[in-house]
């Protein structure tokens, strides 16, 4: 489902967030300008406290910005009310959090199905989508379990399925492989790669270099500002190998 790749999907202008606690105001995000094209896969890296999660939440309409603009598909969204944002999210955005990713009193499969239904699918479509996603993630066996019974990593994978169930144009994910071992990470990577190939725009926050390297672009955040925003260079595998691996030929 390749849709109009190349057009600007997301754009922020000087996006800022200052948390005013009961003391010193804490600037979490300071004047971030970034843009994402349709179908583009970008990873955001940076140390903890650099504002990555906050940035992501603002882009998903879950946190109101203190200043700046957000443009989604050519329309200004940072001034939308919560209700309007919710509608935007239903159809266009999938969000994966670090914690508390699933509705606790529903089975795993129902979580995914619910998201699909909310996105506007019919029952049949929703069921099909659910089976497809769970199968991709290797979680079909656990489909009927309560979220609390799954390990943290499994929950995150299900969350990813949930976020993608409504075929969003923009997938936002906060540390999707945070709790995963490498096998599970690979599964997630594969899924992301496939979605990317299908034309899904993905913006994710990650510590995992392998995940980040799968992206087209890496944005480095430090202390609330962008310090680097560049595509990943193409390095001929053989060129780097002698130094990294001891392989013949």
């Amino acid at each position: 489902m390749i849709t109009d790749t190349g057009r600007l999907l997301l754009r922020t202008v000087s996006l800022t967030k200052i948390f005013r606690g009961d003391g010193v105001p804490v600037p979490a995000v300071r004047g971030v300008d970034l843009s994402l094209r349709q179908g583009e896969f970008a990873a955001i890296t940076g140390p903890s406290g650099s504002g990555k999660s906050t940035l992501l939440h603002m882009l998903g309409g879950l946190e109101p910005p203190t200043g700046g603009e957000i443009w989604l598909n050519g329309e200004r969204v940072d001034t939308l009310s919560q209700a309007r944002w919710a509608i935007v999210r239903r159809r266009h955005i999938g969000f994966v959090f670090q914690f508390f990713n699933l509705v606790s009193n529903m089975t795993v499969a129902d979580n995914v199905e619910l998201a699909a239904l909310m996105g506007g699918a019919t029952r049949k479509q929703a069921r099909a989508r659910r089976a497809e996603l769970l199968g991709e993630l290797g979680l079909t066996a656990k489909a009927d379990a309560a979220p609390a019974r799954l390990s943290g990593g499994e929950q995150q994978r299900v969350a990813l399925a949930r976020a993608m169930a409504n075929r969003p144009s923009l997938l936002l994910a906060d540390e999707p492989t945070g709790n995963l071992d490498s096998a599970a990470s690979m599964t997630v990577l594969r899924l992301l790669g496939q979605a990317h190939a299908d034309g899904q725009a993905i913006l994710l926050v990650t510590h995992d270099a392998r995940v980040a390297s799968g992206a087209d672009r890496v944005i480095s955040l430090f202390d609330g500002t962008v310090v680097d925003d560049a595509s990943i260079p193409l390095i001929h595998p053989q060129a780097s190998l002698p130094h990294v691996l001891k392989l013949r030929g």
Binding site: E63, Q82, F99, N105, L114, L117, M118, A148, G152
Partner: protein
């Protein structure tokens, strides 16, 4: 340990207060019920103690020497100073009533001291000030401050007096069970009204050491004083019996209500405390992590709730103390002071509540404490399915908030069941209560339904029956006048007599309401109430025989009526039956049926005027008034039950909210608007509430008809009286429940949409 308890109480003050308030409410309700039960069914004991009463009262001829009684008759502790008394007539617009005036000093006596309930006692500065006995005052509708006229028996003298107070006494039974009505006056006023000492009696009270020996003492006293000096004697047993509610109905009713209220109360306590423990589960896990053993955790939790229970019980005791007299005071025929807090009951209720709270806390606390800490901290609701119904509903584009909310209501099955039961049971009771109320209203508005077609009775007094009939005939307000007699008959094989009624003639019978069979149409036909039939072991169509002044008469029962007079044992027939049989003609009177909409009081005053005050006009007492106690009890119980239901609701709402909090973030991400989130929360609680209330109302309606039938049977009114609460009232109740549920849910929800998604609550 104590520190944690204190911290926890301060952290969740609202919930803690709720628990204490529920306990207080429950204790108050139960104590009130017990108090009302006691006060209504046996007010004598309390009143006797409060007035330091005398067990024996003598009406003696003036000048009787009582000084030697004490020394001569063993067993007498105190003899009161003789109080002059005389018979008189209380004259009010439209009403003349026999009374006894008793002279007392401005300084109330030590023994048999009347208990002031309103206004003040006799006062030397106001010679024309009188104090009425409370139940009498209620019956004749005289309040403190009104002015009435007292006439002596001959009608030769009288005084206008002002009522300055009302008081209660254990000397004689309630009016009108024991007549005449009692009025206390200053000796000077008595002499003014009745100057002739020959028409005065002396009233003396005797306090004896052994109440069981009353009969013996009375014998001795009469012997000592000479029977010619003794006008009448009344003993404490007579007074007590007269004060005691003769009908087991009331006791039954209140006991029934009390029992169910107890059940509802226990449910409320369980709901509130168990709900609280559930909410605290995560903290319990934390405590165990800190190093407290499961036993310690359980003890801490139980101790915390025990403290709350004590606070609640204390408040409940105080509230009950304050409210019981108020409750009883608003009811006619029952003396407020007679409701002392029943000691044994109080201990039982207080102890029982405390134990209930402790158990309701300890058990879930034990279960919760036994969980491994991690499981406790992670305490999440059990899984539920997005059932086919819900999924289809969502696909059908029904509002997702409603679907999710309704679904969430039933995820925790146990809690949902408890909540439903906890709401349904009070609702059942409330519906039954409303049914009773509706029936009472029906009875009040249509007294004909219980045999009170006539609202006024007229005795000819000094006039002849013919003259009376003529006067009555001239009154335009009178729709019909029935010639009636009261005839005492001897029941064969028994030593008791019953009063039977000849109402109208066989050709023109009094319009009783017949629920089975038909009215008497010929001589020797009669109708009877269920109670009478039961007493005689007869049924409609059979015969009963009784002896009228030596003349045996056999009646065939042709119909069953509902009538509340004479304890519900009524036999009525045409007066021509008596004449036919040659039975002696007893006193006659007229029962007047007034035109619709005419106030009895207006008609009565007109008749009096027209007859120059010679006709004896009296209103027919409305037995529905006696049920006033039930009214008050019902009102109180309904309020308490509603309150109990509300706390169950709040608890359920709180537990549900806690589950909901976890999922807010995800649901927002999935695209639910804040309004939808709020709606889901409200729907969840409201669905449960409406379901519970509807179930309760349905069961209640069925039960109420059934119960009312039983009650009226016992009361001798027979079946056929039940009027269930109107559909409108029930609908209003359900709507109220829904609205309160919605409000409760909305209020207990914090502003969840303001919580930033970045607040990570931890894995």
């Amino acid at each position: 340990m104590a520190r944690w308890i204190r911290a926890d109480l301060m952290a969740s003050t609202g919930q803690a207060i709720a628990v204490a308030v529920v306990v207080a409410g429950v204790v108050t309700a139960l104590l009130l019920s017990a108090g009302v039960l006691q006060g209504a069914t046996n007010p004598w004991a309390g009143l006797f103690a409060a007035t330091r009463g005398a067990q024996i009262w003598l009406h003696l001829a003036p000048g009787t020497n009582v000084r030697r009684l004490r020394s001569e008759v063993p067993g007498i502790v105190t003899v009161t100073a003789p109080y002059p008394a005389t018979a008189a007539t209380l004259v009010q617009p439209g009403q003349r009533t026999r009374v006894e005036l008793r002279a007392m000093d401005a300084a109330p006596p030590a023994i048999g001291r009347p208990l002031r309930v309103s206004g003040r006692w006799l006062d030397r500065s106001e010679v024309n000030g009188v104090v009425l006995e409370a139940t009498f005052a209620q019956a004749v509708h005289v309040a403190v401050g009104s002015t009435v006229t007292l006439e002596n028996l001959d009608g030769t003298g009288g005084s206008r007096v002002r009522v300055i107070g009302l008081a209660e006494t254990a000397d004689q039974g309630f009016y009108p069970d024991q007549t005449p009505g009692l009025i206390w006056v200053l000796p000077a006023l008595l002499r003014a009204i009745e100057p002739d000492p020959a028409h005065t009696e002396e009233v003396v009270g005797l306090q004896i050491a052994d109440p069981d020996a009353t009969g013996f003492v009375v014998q001795q006293v009469v012997t000592q004083l000479g029977s010619s000096s003794v006008g009448s004697v009344s003993t404490w047993q007579q007074v007590e019996q007269s004060m005691a509610r003769r009908d087991p109905l009331l006791g039954l009713l209140l006991a029934l209500f009390g029992l169910v209220a107890l059940g509802a109360a226990v449910l409320a306590i369980v709901n509130v405390t168990a709900g609280r423990v559930l909410v605290q589960q995560a903290e319990l896990g934390m405590l165990q992590t800190l190093g407290f053993t499961p036993a310690q955790v359980m003890v801490m939790l139980t101790a915390e709730h025990a403290i709350l229970a004590c606070a609640g019980i204390a408040v409940g005791l105080v509230a009950a103390r304050l409210l019981t007299p108020l409750l009883l005071g608003s009811v006619p025929g029952v003396s407020p002071a007679s409701a002392a807090l029943p000691g044994r009951w109080a201990v039982l209720i207080v102890g029982g509540t405390f134990v209930a709270v402790v158990l309701a806390t300890a058990l879930p606390a034990w279960r919760a404490a036994r969980l491994w800490p991690v499981a406790a901290v992670r305490a999440v609701p059990p899984r539920g399915h997005l059932s086919r119904l819900a999924a289809t509903a969502m696909a059908a584009r029904m509002p997702p908030a409603v679907v999710l909310g309704a679904r969430a209501a039933f995820v925790r099955r146990m809690t949902a069941a408890l909540t439903i039961v906890g709401l349904a049971v009070p609702m059942v009771m409330i519906t039954i209560g409303l049914g009773f109320w509706a029936t009472l209203d029906q009875v009040r508005e249509h007294p004909a339904d219980i045999g009170l077609a006539a609202s006024v009775t007229v005795s000819p007094g000094p006039l002849t029956m013919g003259q009376a009939a003529a006067l009555i005939g001239r009154d335009p307000d009178v729709l019909a006048a029935y010639r009636c007699v009261k005839a005492t008959a001897l029941v064969p094989g028994e030593t008791t007599t019953i009063t039977t009624l000849g109402m109208g003639t066989s050709a023109d019978p009094y319009p009783f309401r017949v629920v089975q069979g038909h009215l008497y149409r010929a001589p020797e036909q009669a109708v009877a109430t269920q109670a009478l039939l039961t007493a005689f072991g007869a049924r409609v169509g059979q015969f009963v025989q009784m002896d009228f002044g030596g003349v045996p008469v056999t009646f065939r029962i042709v119909g069953r009526i509902i009538d509340a007079q004479y304890d519900g044992e009524v036999l009525a027939y045409g007066i021509d039956t008596l004449a036919d049989e040659g039975a002696p003609a007893p006193i006659g009177f007229y029962s007047l049926v007034l035109r619709r909409g005419v106030q009895p009081g207006a008609a009565m005053s007109r008749l009096l005027r027209m007859s120059g005050g010679r006709l004896d006009v009296e209103p027919v007492s409305d037995p529905a008034d006696q049920l006033g106690v039930v009214d008050a009890a019902l009102a109180a119980l309904i309020v308490v039950l509603a309150f109990i239901a509300l706390t169950s609701l709040l608890t359920a709402s709180r537990v549900g909210n806690r589950d909901h909090q976890r999922d807010v973030q995800v649901l927002r991400a999935m695209g639910l608007t804040p309004a939808q989130l709020r709606t889901a929360v409200v729907v969840r609680t409201t669905v449960l509430a409406v379901l519970a209330v509807t179930i309760g109302a349905v069961i209640g309606r069925a039960a109420s008809g059934f119960l009312i039938s039983i009650v009226s049977q016992v009361y001798g009114l027979g079946a056929g009286l039940a009027t269930p609460a109107s559909a409108g009232t029930t609908a209003v109740a359900i709507a109220l429940a829904a609205v309160s549920a919605a409000l409760a849910a909305a209020l207990t929800t914090r502003t969840q949409d303001r919580i930033p998604a970045t607040v990570a609550l931890g894995p």
